[in-house]
């Protein structure tokens, strides 16, 4: 299992056969074709969306008017929506184009695309949350969104 596959390892959530497809299983080789592995690109898209929205919210817009917890929640919803769409679309395009290898075709369809979109969305939300915990402190105006930084809270108590 390589680095990118690791993030999609809970395959029972969206289907073992879809995992095989995304990893690049090819009937012609009876093995995985590394050129067909879609996990790296999908992961980079997902993490890219997370980074982009995070940077946009905390460092580019960086507005004093957008510091409520639900502002942060809206930014997370944007991440969720976009990454769901990326995950769903990746699969459904393959289904519609008939590029799923024949032995997996009967297992990969709309439902698995739906579940894969949800999986990708949840993965992105986890990353967004972790990014928020780790990297918001350097934001000038939004560092206390969605909640006050722990260090600030401790300093206020000392005072």
């Amino acid at each position: 299992m390589n680095f990118f596959d690791f993030f999609y390892r809970w395959k029972s959530f969206y289907g073992v056969q879809l995992y095989e497809h995304m990893k690049g299983y090819d009937d012609a080789l009876m093995d995985y074709n590394p050129d067909f592995n879609q996990f790296p690109s999908l992961f980079l898209w997902t993490i890219g969306i997370v980074v982009a929205v995070f940077v946009l919210y905390y460092y580019i817009i960086n507005s004093t008017r957008l510091v409520k917890w639900w502002h942060w929640l809206i930014s997370m919803a944007i991440v969720a929506g976009l990454t769901y769409w990326v995950g769903f679309r990746t699969v459904i395009v393959d289904v519609n184009n008939g590029t799923v290898t024949p032995s997996l075709q009967s297992y990969v369809g709309y439902n698995s695309a739906l579940m894969f979109g949800i999986y990708n969305m949840m993965l992105a939300m986890v990353f967004y949350f972790v990014f928020t915990l780790l990297f918001r402190r350097w934001s000038r105006n939004c560092k206390h969104s969605p909640w006050e930084l722990l260090t600030t809270k401790l300093n206020n108590r000392k005072k």
Partner: protein, 432 residues
């Protein structure tokens, strides 16, 4: 400053994403134009069925002419004559020259090269007038005589009802056992001199009218019904493959009831792999031939499927042989086991190089170590099914059977097993 960093990041992501997507589409487009061929060629062997594949060799046809064969011939009016004539004509066309035709019983009797005279105009009287001992059939002796006339460049075709004639022997079963040993010895002696030999057998049926001789050699007059007969082709494995391509079973006038083949040639199965589907339980694939983290499903069953290119074995042994699960041995850490059930189906995926999908399942403990799946040299199941041990009265239950048939096959298989091993080929897997 921040904006300047973000823009290149987005551009990189878009390029990587688009590239991975287009790879599969482009490859699939390429594949649609270039469907992979099944690798059927073996170095030094050519069996495409073309005239070019047939180098200098001779085809000897032996028609057994004992009294029990009389009912099969009637001046070209029987299915036997139509079918054998048609088959030999196909062989002649494939061979590209005239065949050497013989009657065979206690001796080989040359009958020239004119196919029409040899089989189509044949009557029971011709059989009798040909000479030799036509009162009984010593099948082991038939093989001995034929194999003594054979070498790598000979194709021998034996046509007979393959009914043993113990005659007045006190113990017919002992006679059959003795015949089996003699058949084994005849093939062993040939395989000692020539390492390559293949045998293919067609079982067919014909209308039969005349005297039927039972195993005690008692004549039953005016028997009329369907009776089996057999065409045995004995030659180099290359020729068997070539003939199978050139003269498929579908070209026979009457349906080939059963087919069987055995060969000294042991082709290596190079292209096989554990497939992701179908399966029961779960496992992690490690390359093409390994797996770990095996888990049974909720019903306590574990199953995995192998895709294998058995194209060459399919050509030599026939589809029916490869689909018979009795012809596979499961060997775990060098110990044969029956705990794994097998099912074999043809692979229907056009893009796959696999010709067969072999599923292996168990409810027993999951082993670790080496797992070997071997294709065995075995007699066909139908040899037992169509063996009759008492043909004094022919009725619906035994008229389609042949007295002592499996002893012939047992003798041949024993010789091959002794000289070439019990397995044609095997596929090896690692279970960790």
């Amino acid at each position: 400053m921040m904006k300047k960093r973000i823009i290149p990041l987005f551009v990189c992501l878009i390029l990587i994403g688009c590239n991975a997507k287009s790879n599969r589409q482009a490859a699939n487009q390429q594949r649609a134009n270039d469907i992979p061929e099944i690798p059927m060629k073996t170095p030094g062997m050519s069996y495409d069925g073309s005239q070019g594949a047939v180098d200098s060799f001779r085809v000897n046809v032996y028609l057994e002419n004992s009294g029990s064969m009389n009912g099969y011939v009637d001046a070209g009016k029987t299915d036997f004559q139509h079918n054998v004539f048609n088959y030999l004509d196909d062989v002649e066309q494939w061979f590209g020259s005239q065949l050497n035709l013989f009657f065979i019983n206690s001796k080989i009797i040359p009958k020239g090269n004119i196919l029409d005279d040899f089989i189509n105009k044949l009557t029971p009287k011709d059989f009798k007038n040909a000479g030799g001992n036509t009162s009984t059939t010593d099948i082991a002796d038939l093989f001995k005589q034929i194999l003594e006339q054979s070498n790598d460049s000979t194709v021998s075709i034996l046509i007979s009802d393959f009914i043993f004639s113990p005659g007045t022997q006190n113990n017919p079963e002992a006679y059959l056992g003795e015949q089996q040993v003699k058949i084994k010895r005849a093939f062993e002696q040939y395989l000692n001199k020539n390492s390559e030999l293949a045998v293919m057998v067609y079982q067919l049926y014909s209308n039969f009218k005349g005297i039927y001789y039972d195993y005690l050699n008692t004549p039953h007059h005016n028997y009329e019904g369907q009776r089996p007969y057999y065409i045995w082709v004995i030659c180099h494995p290359l020729k068997v493959a070539s003939m199978r391509v050139a003269i498929p079973e579908s070209s026979f006038l009457n349906r080939v009831e059963n087919y069987w083949s055995i060969t000294s040639f042991s082709p290596t199965i190079e292209n096989y792999a554990i497939l992701p589907n179908p399966k029961k339980g779960s496992f992690n694939k490690l390359g093409k031939d390994g797996m770990n983290k095996m888990r049974k499903d909720a019903q306590g069953e574990f199953m995995f499927t192998i895709g294998a290119n058995l194209g060459l074995l399919d050509l030599l042994l026939g589809e029916k042989y490869l689909l018979d699960t009795d012809n596979y041995a499961r060997i775990i850490n060098k110990q044969t086991t029956d705990e794994w059930y097998i099912s074999v189906v043809p692979n229907s995926i056009p893009t796959s190089p696999a010709t067969h999908n072999i599923s292996l399942s168990t409810k027993g403990s999951l082993p670790k170590g080496d797992f070997e799946l071997a294709i065995c040299r075995k007699k066909p199941k139908w040899a037992d099914d169509f063996t009759d041990m008492d043909d004094r009265s022919l009725n619906e239950s035994n008229q389609m059977k042949t007295y002592g048939l499996h002893y012939v096959f047992d003798g041949v298989v024993q010789a091959y097993s002794a000289k070439c091993g019990n397995y044609y080929s095997s596929m090896n897997f690692k279970m960790n």
